[in-house]
């Protein structure tokens, strides 16, 4: 059963004159238990908005335009503020990019980790909470957790703070963990440590990893959604997307990344930049930068085409090619 499922979810931002500019356009995706879904894309593509929508933490001015986000059979978008409060931080938790700004600098680390327990399990005794916090810190590999719970965030290094964030997110054993750029602020050797810890937690529930780094996806995820300007241009298993990318944007993105074995010839680039939300146009949102762009691409949004049971792409070209193959 899917832990979380987006069905045709759309959201946008309200301008000063009251009109709404659509950002996320009919996003459909789901996360199965014990699996991780990677949402990749460049800045401004709506990947963070998708994850904040699950938490119902959209910023001021954001408007839900339609669709459903199902969690345990219920639509999160319809729940009352009290009900979502019981889920947020309990059954669905989140790890943010910058651990220093996500932690309160004037509260002890142990207190902050225990907060989620005290809030959602008011019947727990103090010593039970403390034991659970120490155990959580131990699980994320923080040495001497008994002493560490009495320290403040500034006494922790960047990697240790991110471990604290993971401990905090995992302490209620959530059904879904959302990690928004969990390793972007960390050094490579620390990043490897954190990904290792996150992998261990995958078994206990579903995971959504929001990142711009395709390397993180290859390391951690089974499934991936490639977003461009609010559209899920391509989604499927990691195997399908990495081995047989079909959308010109996915292909371009993969070719643009230098690797440790790539030749030193000029890198393939995608001309131009991501359009602003006002300039998305009515057709395919990638049309302006696409080298295969045809007239239909500028006038009509491409439909989702299933290439096989594990691979969906939104592209007129792939759509026509798919018909040709069949």
């Amino acid at each position: 059963m899917a832990v979380i499922e987006f069905i045709d979810y759309s959201m946008g931002f309200q301008a000063q004159d009251g009109s709404v500019h659509n950002l996320i356009d009919r996003l459909s995706m789901k996360v199965e238990e014990g699996r991780a879904l990677g949402i990749v894309g460049e800045s401004g593509c709506g990947k963070s908005m998708a994850s904040l929508s699950v938490m119902r933490l959209l910023p001021h001015g954001a408007v839900v335009q339609g669709g459903q986000i199902l969690f345990e059979g219920r639509d999160l978008l319809q729940l009352s503020e009290a009900k979502i409060g019981g889920i947020r931080g309990n059954k669905i938790t989140m790890i943010f990019q910058e651990p220093m700004t996500a932690l309160n600098p004037v509260l002890r680390v142990g207190f902050q980790i225990g907060e989620a327990l005290r809030l959602h399990h008011p019947d727990m005794r103090r010593d039970e909470v403390e034991r659970a916090v120490i155990e959580a810190l131990d699980q994320v590999g923080i040495p001497q957790p008994r002493a560490r719970i009495h320290q403040y965030p500034h006494e922790f290094s960047g990697g240790m703070r991110q471990r604290v964030m993971i401990a905090m997110a995992m302490i209620n054993r959530p059904a879904l963990l959302i990690a928004d750029e969990p390793t972007t602020a960390l050094d490579v050797t620390i990043q490897a440590q954190i990904l290792d810890i996150m992998k261990q937690f995958k078994q206990s529930g579903g995971m959504v990893v929001v990142t711009h780094n395709l390397g993180v996806v290859a390391e951690l995820c089974e499934e991936v959604v490639v977003m461009y300007a609010g559209c899920a241009v391509e989604r499927g298993t990691v195997h399908a997307i990495f081995r047989h990318p079909r959308h010109p944007y996915t292909v371009g993105l993969m070719a643009a990344i230098p690797t440790l074995s790539s030749p030193k010839t000029p890198l393939k680039t995608i001309a131009g930049a991501v359009p602003a939300i006002m300039d998305f146009g009515v057709g395919c949102r990638f049309a302006q930068r696409c080298e295969h762009c045809q007239s239909i691409c500028r006038t009509q949004r491409p439909p989702e085409t299933w290439l096989d049971e594990a691979h969906v792409v939104q592209c007129w070209q792939a759509c026509g090619a798919a018909k040709g193959d069949a």
Binding site: E42, S43, S157, G158, G159, M160, D187, V188, T189, I190, Q191, A192, Q193, L195, D196, H212, N213, L214, G215, V216, V217, A218, E219, V238, H239, F242, R243, G252, L253, M254, A256, I257, P258, T259, L260, S262, K264, P266, L267, K268, T269, I270, A271, A273, V274
Partner: protein
């Protein structure tokens, strides 16, 4: 190898220690060892990559080379002339030869200044143009050189995307016709598709203008792509200097090996066993007594904790700071 080429920068035993404030008056004086005894040569026409984790001293090194901060020891020679700790007029003359491209294209441009004026400013300050009109003419040519429209001269920075702003930053650096460009994490803040455009631009400019680069970064794949030689820093020390092929061809310093092994690749191909380093980079205030890397090294032995190894030449042009430089076999 590039030994026969002219040496642009000769850095010898360069150190930059920052005293720690608030230490006890009678206690021992403590310092942050930001850059500690760094020596290397930069040859004309090459790209030297500098990699290391945060706190390894990469940016302090760049600032010291540009005389933006005076070193506490050692010397920097530019084309044979000692430029160590230049100040005032002399420093400005040096910076007309050696320029810097910064990391954050949002923070490095004045939001109230039209980009054309921002490019004209260094041209006029360094008297590269007789008057404003000539400067403006040059600025338009520079905009075209970095792949922007010359008529963007009259726009403000907020009208540009991150990639375009970085191009403007590069145009400003090139405005004084420098010989050497120091790029400090110049592509780190950019999206991948834009990062590729800027990397191509750097290579293109190098070929067209005969520039020499120092390219500082933390992404090993990016630094490998753009560099001819790579210098690996850890806690202010040079751990390894080698040509790209030597560094990635196996037999590298254990720290370099773990950096390579920790790099995430966007591929599903099987890779070697990952070397997972324990712990964090130690404080540069009290660096370890022996080898700086000994606490995290996966092949450290007794001697590593007692004595710091020298930077020794393992093969021509390949320097490694490790007691076991000759024995360490690549795990590639």
């Amino acid at each position: 190898m590039s030994e026969d080429r002219a040496v642009m920068l000769q850095v010898s035993h360069l150190s930059k220690l920052y005293p720690v404030r608030g230490a006890r008056i009678l206690g021992p004086k403590r310092c942050v060892h930001a850059v500690d005894d760094v020596s290397f040569e930069l040859h004309a026409g090459e790209t030297l990559g500098i990699v290391g984790e945060s706190g390894s001293g990469k940016s302090t090194l760049a600032r010291t080379l540009l005389a933006l901060t005076p070193p506490t020891g050692g010397s920097v020679r530019y084309r044979g002339e000692d430029v160590t700790g230049f100040r005032g007029r002399a420093a400005r003359a040096l910076r007309a030869q050696v320029q810097m491209v910064f990391q954050d294209p949002y923070a490095s441009l004045n939001p109230k200044m039209k980009v054309g004026e921002a490019i004209c400013e260094p041209i006029l300050v360094n008297r590269r143009a007789a008057d404003r009109r000539e400067a403006a003419h040059k600025a338009r040519a520079l905009l075209a050189l970095v792949g922007l429209q010359p008529d963007m001269f009259d726009r403000y920075p907020h009208e540009f995307s991150g990639g375009q702003r970085q191009r403007i930053g590069i145009a400003r650096a090139l405005a004084v016709e420098p010989q050497v460009l120091i790029c400090d994490e110049s592509v780190s803040a950019l999206d991948v598709s834009v990062q590729a455009q800027i990397l191509n631009l750097f290579n293109d400019l190098k070929a067209r203008l005969g520039l020499t680069y120092i390219f500082i970064g933390h992404d090993l794949a990016v630094v490998r792509y753009i560099s001819d030689r790579i210098l690996v820093m850890y806690l202010g020390r040079v751990m390894e200097i080698a040509a790209c092929d030597q560094l990635f061809g196996g037999g590298a310093h254990p720290y370099t090996q773990s950096l390579v092994s920790a790099a995430l690749e966007p591929t599903l191909d099987q890779r070697g066993e990952r070397i997972l380093l324990q712990g964090d980079i130690p404080s540069p205030i009290d660096p370890p007594k022996g080898c700086r890397f000994c606490q995290r090294c996966f092949c450290a032995q007794g001697i590593c904790h007692d004595a710091e190894p020298d930077l020794s030449e393992r093969e021509p042009g390949h320097f490694v700071r490790c007691h076991f430089a000759q024995e360490v076999k690549g795990r590639a």
